[in-house]
C-alpha cells in the first residue's frame, strides 16, 4: 500500500515538474522583452558596480547593509546554539561504544580536506565573476570540517582560532563599510579602482567583502557543526 501511494505521488510530482518546466525557456534572455524592475539591474549593474555576476552586485552593493544584517543573524544563531549546549559540568560521553571509521575513510578524509577547503576559497573569491559567493563558499568550507569530523574523531576543530577568524572577518566587513563612508559618500561605497571587467581584480571592494563573508560564514557554520557533534547525548 505504501509503495503504491509513493509511486502515485512520484508520478504526480514528475508530471507537475514536466508541465511547470515546459513553459520555461532555459538559457534565453527573457527579461529584456518585458518592463520589469529586474531589467534595470541587468542593464546597469555591470557598469555601475563592475561585477559580472548581477546577483553579487545586488547582494553586496545595492543591499550590502542587508547582507551585514544577515551575517549578524547567523552569528547570533551560532551564539544561541553555543549557549544552549554549554554546560558547566562535564557531560558524560555516550555510554554505547562508538564504531570508529575505517582506515580507508580516515585517510580519504584527511587527503580530501585541504582540497575541499581550496575549492570553497575558489568559490568565494570568484563570487563576482561566477555563481556562488561568500555564503556558498562558507558552506563548502564548513562541510569540509564536517567531513573531517565524520572521518577521524581524534581531530578537533580549533575553536579559539575559529572565533578569532570570525571576529576578524566581521571587523573587516564593518571597516570596509566605514571606509566607504570616509572616502566616499555612503556606507559600503566603493573606494577602490574598478579594474578591468571580467578579471579577478575587478569590482572594487566586492571581492574583499566576499572574502570576509566567506570566512565568517565558514567559521560560524563549522562552530555550529562542532557544537552539535561534540554534544552527542
Amino acid at each position: 500500500m505504501r509503495i503504491l501511494i509513493s509511486c502515485v505521488l512520484l508520478v504526480i510530482l514528475s508530471l507537475g515538474l514536466v508541465f511547470a518546466l515546459e513553459q520555461a525557456p532555459f538559457g534565453s534572455n527573457q527579461i529584456d522583452n518585458a518592463d520589469k524592475p529586474g531589467r534595470f539591474y541587468l542593464n546597469q549593474g555591470m557598469e555601475k558596480t563592475g561585477a559580472a555576476n548581477v546577483v553579487t552586485s545586488v547582494v553586496v552593493t545595492y543591499r550590502g547593509f542587508d547582507t551585514l544584517g544577515e551575517v549578524t543573524i547567523l552569528f547570533i544563531a551560532a551564539i544561541g546554539l553555543g549557549a544552549v549546549f554549554h554546560s558547566r559540568k562535564k557531560v558524560k560521553r555516550y555510554e554505547k561504544e562508538k564504531q570508529s571509521a575505517s582506515l580507508i575513510l580516515q585517510t580519504g578524509c584527511r587527503f580530501l580536506f585541504p582540497l575541499i577547503v581550496l575549492f570553497g576559497t575558489y568559490v568565494f573569491i570568484h563570487g563576482h565573476l561566477s555563481p556562488g559567493g561568500g555564503f556558498q563558499g562558507g558552506v563548502i568550507i564548513a562541510s569540509a570540517f564536517l567531513l573531517l569530523f565524520l572521518g577521524c574523531e581524534e581531530k578537533k576543530i580549533p575553536m579559539k582560532s575559529m572565533n578569532t577568524v570570525e571576529s576578524l572577518a566581521g571587523i573587516i566587513f564593518v571597516g570596509i563599510g566605514l571606509a566607504g563612508l570616509y572616502w566616499g559618500e555612503s556606507f559600503l561605497e566603493n573606494f577602490l579602482p574598478r579594474g578591468m571587467d571580467y578579471m579577478l581584480l575587478s569590482g572594487g571592494v566586492i571581492p574583499i567583502i566576499y572574502i570576509a563573508i566567506g570566512f565568517k560564514v565558514g567559521a560560524e557554520l563549522a562552530g555550529i557543526v562542532a557544537g552539535l557533534i561534540e554534544r552527542n547525548p
Binding site: 532555459f26 562508538k98 556562488g132
Partner: protein
C-alpha cells in the same frame, strides 16, 4: 539531436534508481540507490553544460559532487552507528 537521446537515457537511468529507492528492502539499499543517483546527476549536469553552452555549470557539478560525497559518508556513518 543526439544529445537529447543521451538525456533520455540518463532520465531512464534515474527512474531505475528511483525504483530501487522506493522498493529497497533495507535502508542501505536506499542509500546505495541515492549514491548512484548522485553520480548520474553529476554526469547529467556536465552534459547540460554542453547543451546550454554554459561553462559555469561545471562549477555546479563540482559543488554537487563534493556535497553529495559528504552526504553519502554521513549516511553511511549513521547506518554503522558511528555518530
Amino acid at each position: 539531436m543526439i544529445v537529447s537521446i543521451f538525456l533520455l537515457v540518463i532520465g531512464a537511468a534515474i527512474v531505475l534508481c528511483l525504483i530501487r529507492l522506493i522498493k529497497g528492502p533495507t535502508a542501505t539499499d536506499r542509500a546505495v540507490a541515492l549514491d548512484t543517483v548522485t553520480t548520474v546527476t553529476t554526469a547529467l549536469l556536465v552534459i547540460l553544460a554542453l547543451v546550454f553552452k554554459r561553462y559555469i555549470y561545471l562549477d555546479v557539478a563540482l559543488v554537487y559532487a563534493v556535497l553529495m560525497f559528504i552526504g553519502s559518508v554521513a549516511i553511511a556513518r549513521f547506518l554503522e552507528k558511528g555518530i
